[in-house]
Amino acid sequence: MTEFDPRIIAFCCNWCSYVGADLAGTSRLQYPHNVRIIRTMCSGQVFPSYILKALELGADGVMIAGCHIGDCHYVSGNKKAEERFRMLLGIMKTLGLDARRIRLEWISASEGVKFANTIKEFAREIKELGPRNGGKE
Amino acid sequence: MKEYASFLGCIIPNRYPGIEASSTRILGHFDVELVQINGASCCPAPGVFSSFHLDSWLAIAARNIALGEMTGKDIITMCNGCYGSLTEASFLLKGNKELKEKINGILSKVGCEFKGTSKIKHVIEVFSEDIGVKKIQEAMNTSLEGVRACTHYGCHFLKPAEMKKHGSSERPRLLDEIVEASGARSVDYKDKTMCCGFGGGVRARNLDVTLDFTREKLNNIISARGDCIVDQCASCHLEFDRGQVEIKKIFGQEFRVPVLYFTQLIGMGLGMGQHELGLDFHSIPAKPLLDKLNGGRR
């Protein structure tokens, strides 16, 4: 019985969280390998359908990371991301999905430590949630 | 009417029941009732226990909190040490899920569980928040004018400042405001925020070091022409009261500064007497102070 190794997709915005992830790298901070980062220009560019598609294709967890509110490179893209995320949380149950599998996080370009810790925490949580009973969830 | 579960610790029931008596009576005057916590033990002494064995400290403290939670009320303490021990244990357990599970595992053996449902407050917070300085002022019926009170905050109530959040830990105001509300004058003195010397097990291990601290504070209070010390901690209270006797014995220096717990001072302002306030249990007589006031009874 192989141990559950979750697959997590993280959409990171080009200006803040992606840079924060890079900073975690240059600082050699270690975090679980489970995450695959997809770069977007802005967290506000992440369609809710991306998140659902990822889950549909078998991702165990999906994270969207953007700039702190007030710091969005495109002024309010992250606010839009927040609204959409909230809406999505609301319908997760109806879709038969566990809302704890998606997460919205604000990580700035200088928060390498926060990036690493967030991945550690999220990976641990998803691991605890266990695999998605292929079809049941 | 507000109700709180009262955690007494060790020093108050064993040495200074006047602190409990005066606090209970005066809180009652302001419509705050205290209920007992059955089976509580020593808090345990924060500096000592947490430096020896973290889990033992946490388990004993968590048990006390759990017993308090069983009353369904928020918990108050009258001793800074107990306040420090319970709030810091609660903070640690609430912030760390694994630690909480571990400690609750230990507590399950005695049929207890720490849930974190009761707030933990120092009794002085009840006076400043629930009752308020204005009500205290209005309730005073005996003039304390002319009483020069030197306040002593102690350590565990104010610090660590980020956790305790009672305003500035360098220039605190809480106890001074309550003292002034009672009609006495809070007099500044050198090194007001200095420790009394009791804590961290020093009193048990190196009494002369402890008394050196106490003596310095007393000297500063004398220099400032203070009439009494007004404290908010049972441990500091013991230190200043018994300490003066010990200082005379060991250093040969005599002090006769009355030591009052702040509710005992408020009690004086409410016209309560020596016996009601439990001042009989003090080594240093407070009678001189009472005599000074008796003339001013309204």
Binding site: I9, I38, H73, G77 | D191
Partner: protein, 653 residues
Amino acid sequence: MTNIGIYICHCGTNIAGMIDVEELARKAAKLKDVSVVKDYRYLCSDPGQDLIKEDIRSMDLDRVVVAACSPRMHESTYRKVLSEAGINPFLLEIANIREQASWVHSEKEKTTEKAFDLVRIAVAKVKKDEPLESLPADVIQRVLVIGAGIAGIQTSLDIANIGYEVVLVEKEQSIGGRMSQLGKTFPTLDCSACILTPRMVEVSTNPKIRLHTYSEVEEISGFIGNFHAKIRKKSRGLNPDLCTGCGECTARCPTKVPGEYDEGMGKRKAIYTLFPQAVPNVPVIDRANCVYITKGKCGICKKVCPAGAIDYELGDEIVEEEVGAVVVASGFDPFDPTSKEELGYGRYKNVITGLQLERLLHTAGPTKGEVIRPSDGAVPKRIAFVQCVGSRDEHANKYCSRVCCMHAIKNALLIKEHHPDAEIFIYYIDIRAFGKGYEEFYKRTQEHGIKFMRGRVAEIFEENNGNVVVRADDTLLGMVMENEVDMAVLSVGMVPRSDSAKIQKLLGIATGSDGFFMEAHAKLRPVETLVDGVFLAGTAQGPKDIPDTVAQAKGAASSALGVISHKVLELSPLISEVDERLCRGCGDCKDICEYGAIELITLDSRNAARINPALCKGCGACTVACCNGSIKLRNFTDTATFAMLEAVLGGEA
């Protein structure tokens, strides 16, 4: 059918040490449409780049994936490689297998697996990428410099002397900044005014510098090469063109208030200039304290002005400027030590800050260079300096403010030279004397008998006669010591200016965790920000001394020139575009666009959205707002994202 080339970089052992590059290459070669997979030690090197170029030409590759360090490092390098090899530079994707894989994980097998996933993602995306052409945009060949301290001044002069116009905006009524407040500078004991004022005069007389003093930038819009700024020139209460700088108004003004320029150590009039060599040498009426403006009485300045320049009713003026690049040189504020309650600043009169002492020592300052203590005007003979106030502090700022050690040492020496019988103590944790001549200066100061006490000051309290007692841990003696002195000087650190948030919002630049403006890369891009066309100079970017400030200012000038010296710039084509056939003209995209880049146009008989490519910043917000998917963000489309997700989750190529 497409021919993709995949290039895996070892980056020495940075990648190859944690990722099995051969295994990765083997796996990658099996992906569909991949014609060649090669690995190389240092792909960004010339031979590495040549390798890719050669393959593109000889194997007819049409798309390239590079698996190496973060795209933020070399995306532009590899794009150029593609251009030079003859294919569209936007048909490139980079898999970040260093910063986001080899550097952050420790199990070789799992990391190699992850690297393969990242390559799969990149391959899926590159297949969906479309060839794009950069948009040419005309460049406005002028630079806006915000802040006219020594940094702003230096940047402006460097740019102007090459022949380009500079718009220099200064918030205060005179240029010169913090350096003008200084007396003598370390380590040479150069008189600050003597080296600064010639530069100030140069600025005022340079025909290429358009100086707006007592002004603030209110709004900036646009993009690199094309910024549009709205500047508010605040009213001085007088007409600067008529003013001759005779100073009669200041001399006759009856109102005195504490002076901000003197850090509260002296008084100034309600109509005043900052210092004698102010540029421009035109005063300002302090509207809050002017008796005429507040109470309708006095009016003496107007009566005595020989040039008739006073005009109380004069309003602010709004000026609009167009520039191609912006340099932020807005400076710093000193840390306010009131919050360090244990040190007694604001409670005890004889506890002052380093900058306040600086003003006392200044020969043109409020006491004409004589250091006297605030409580009774006596000359202090025993002085304690407290280092690291507000710096290196978990409860204040964690960083070191860099200049305070040298500043205190310099001032201690100056006082000692003036009063050889003075006893001066400097309480320090570490002495930072890092620059040229600094260590030698430190030694000289020690030889003059200034006592260096190693230990953090715990508390300062007052004795009855105004003297203060410094209680500190003397770590070398291993004891707690109390030292009664006449006056204590707190060496406060540098903090970001209180209005830096305003500038941040104006330009959309980032601040670091310390609050100072963030450079694009800590080591290699010290004067750029992440916003193209906006640069940083001086203490606005972080604490530094004058030599470093000037060096950085010159760097910023050079970078700004790099932008505006071109007549035309290529703008990134990674913007949104509307498929006008599908667009319903609902206008939701227009409402959501922060940059006003979308407008509704009439096409035949219906409305459709049209994006202005010069204004679109490529954020993609409109694409999500669009109800029927008629707007796409080029190369960041839905199909691309779905393809990437399928590649990594579905296990398909």
